[in-house]
């Protein structure tokens, strides 16, 4: 069902944990749907110097969180905002169609953490493609 890369990131997830006094924290998804991602960013001079995550969810949810943190670590905030779910899926050598929404959550988690960083620092910048309201997302409507 899953690629070797997905299984590797699921079995040995990178950057699991929390960051105390993080520059930005984002949480997306909801328990009812069965997946929540929480991402912690430490940002210095516009660069993500550290990133950690905690995820409640399936194998793909854990793997996409892990891969997304790897892809934004050491990058600038703007570069992190350019991360797409498609890029995460490609980096994982693909996901089953039913699991694509996990990669969307990973992208949203990064954006949500950056939005929190902007808010904390009084930066008034729009984040394209980020609504910040996961409950309104059609994926979770029952």
């Amino acid at each position: 069902m899953y690629s070797e890369k997905v299984m590797d990131h699921f079995a040995n997830p990178r950057n699991v944990g929390e960051i105390e006094n993080a520059s930005g924290v984002g949480e997306v998804g909801n328990a009812k749907c069965g997946d929540i991602m929480k991402m912690f960013l430490k940002i210095e001079d516009g660069v993500i110097v550290d990133v950690k995550f905690k995820t409640f969810g399936c194998g793909a949810a854990v793997a996409t969180s892990s891969m997304a943190t790897e892809m934004i670590k050491g990058k600038t905030v703007d570069e992190a905002l350019a991360l797409t779910n498609k890029a995460v899926v490609e980096a994982l050598d693909g996901l089953p169609p039913a699991k694509i929404h996990c990669s969307v959550l990973a992208e949203e988690a990064v954006k949500s953490a950056v939005a929190d960083y902007y808010k904390k620092n009084g930066i008034e910048k729009e984040i394209p493609g980020f609504c910040g309201d996961c409950d309104s997302c059609s994926h979770c409507h029952h």
Binding site: K32, C33, G34, A98
Partner: protein, 386 residues
């Protein structure tokens, strides 16, 4: 503990017994005739078919003429429900079933709704049971069929079928039970049970996939599902699958002989439940008293079932989950929701189903690995608080 391979998903399917495979091979290598042929080869096959049918009938407490072999449990369920609904449509178009049935029953009922039948899906209690009183209250003037599963495939809850059948009899309503999970796991005598129809499946009792059974009580008129050359006393067309029928008969014979050993399986299950529910924020789903001997269904809060399954699989353990993430649906198991579990708790459920082939060492191994898995996933869960 040293790595093992533990198959603990026996509600999904079971390993065919070597004796069952040997029995089946006789009808592939030697006695492969068509039971409908009048020559020697056909007569040989007919004799074997009759013998198998007699054997199954005596094991289930009915007459051979009351049994129809089908291609699977799902076909038997479809045949029973559609057959009874169509045959009685002039009398009434109301069917009663429960919210926790297998999709073979639920989706057949849903399809009949589109054809103008009315279906009542009974709620179950927190253990997953309906009572005979619940059934009786739902019976209307136009009710023709009640279909309640003998035992639930996810949480193992056993329904009071004998009482439900008695209520149906009193009201002149047909009673059908999907006993796919129960046959071979608990003692069943269809005559004493009092149902009009009962279904079973071979691959749940260590026979191969591709063989099911429908018991139709003598005198019960139901329409055919599959028309053909008059096989199965004209009730199901298609050349009889003698190798699989022989396998089913052998498997049922072994299952009935092994029923006393179910007490050992039940003890292993109880130990699994007792040990695993010592973990915090963990609950057992279903009934502790009315339960299939091999079934343990447990919910671990704050973690998700597919993740649990993947880690268990890496440890060599096969089990299953009611989480939505293991299916193509967005909702977790309809059974877990019907017993009142919130979505987030249902997502973290694991079903472990043991058989005669499991050992105490398997149980030790499952407890150790599942405990490790739960702790590991909770550590990375944003919902978990020590």
């Amino acid at each position: 503990m040293e790595k093992r391979f533990v198959y603990a998903d026996n509600a999904a399917t079971t390993a065919p017994y070597p004796e069952v495979i040997d029995e089946m091979m006789i009808y592939l290598r030697e006695n492969w005739g068509n039971p409908s042929s009048i020559h020697k080869k056909g007569e040989e096959a007919k004799a074997a078919l009759d013998m198998c049918r007699e054997k199954v009938a005596s094991l289930l407490g009915c007459e051979a003429s009351e049994l129809v072999f089908t291609s699977c449990g799902t076909e038997a369920d479809n045949h029973a429900i559609r057959g009874a609904a169509y045959a009685n449509a002039a009398k009434g178009k109301h069917i009663i079933t429960t919210k926790v049935e297998h999709p073979a029953v639920l989706n057949t009922c849903k399809a009949l709704e589109k054809e103008g039948f009315r279906v009542t899906y009974l709620d179950v209690d927190s253990e997953g049971r309906v009572s005979a009183e619940d059934v009786e209250r739902a019976i209307c003037d136009d009710t023709v069929l009640v279909s309640v599963m003998y035992a639930n495939n996810e949480i193992g809850t056993i329904m009071p079928i004998k009482e439900i059948a008695a209520v149906c009899r009193a009201h002149g309503v047909l009673c059908m039970t999907d006993a796919v999970q129960a046959v071979g796991a608990v003692p069943i005598n269809v005559r004493e049970l009092g149902v009009d129809m009962l279904t079973a499946s071979g691959h749940k009792i260590h026979a191969p996939k591709g063989i099911g059974l429908l018991y139709i009580k003598k005198g019960t008129k139901i329409k055919n599902l599959i028309e053909g050359g008059g096989q199965e006393r004209g009730r199901r067309g298609g050349t009889e699958n003698l190798p699989y029928i022989a396998a089913f008969a052998k498997a049922l014979e072994i299952a009935v002989a092994k029923l006393p050993d179910m007490a050992r399986v039940e003890k292993m299950r109880d130990r699994l439940i007792a040990e695993l529910t010592k973990l915090p924020r963990t609950r057992v789903n279903g009934s502790l008293t009315h339960r299939l001997p091999g079934n343990a269904n447990i919910s671990f809060e704050c973690i998700e079932g597919e993740s649990i399954l993947l880690l268990m699989d890496m440890a060599g353990i096969c089990c299953s989950t009611g989480s939505a993430c293991s299916s193509n649906s967005l909702d977790p198991s309809h059974v877990l929701l019907a017993i009142g579990l919130p979505h987030e708790v249902a997502h973290g459920s694991v079903r472990i189903t043991l058989s005669h082939e499991n050992t105490e060492e398997d149980v030790d191994y499952i407890i150790e690995k599942l405990t490790e898995t739960v702790e590991r996933l909770r550590k990375m869960s944003p919902l978990w608080k020590e």
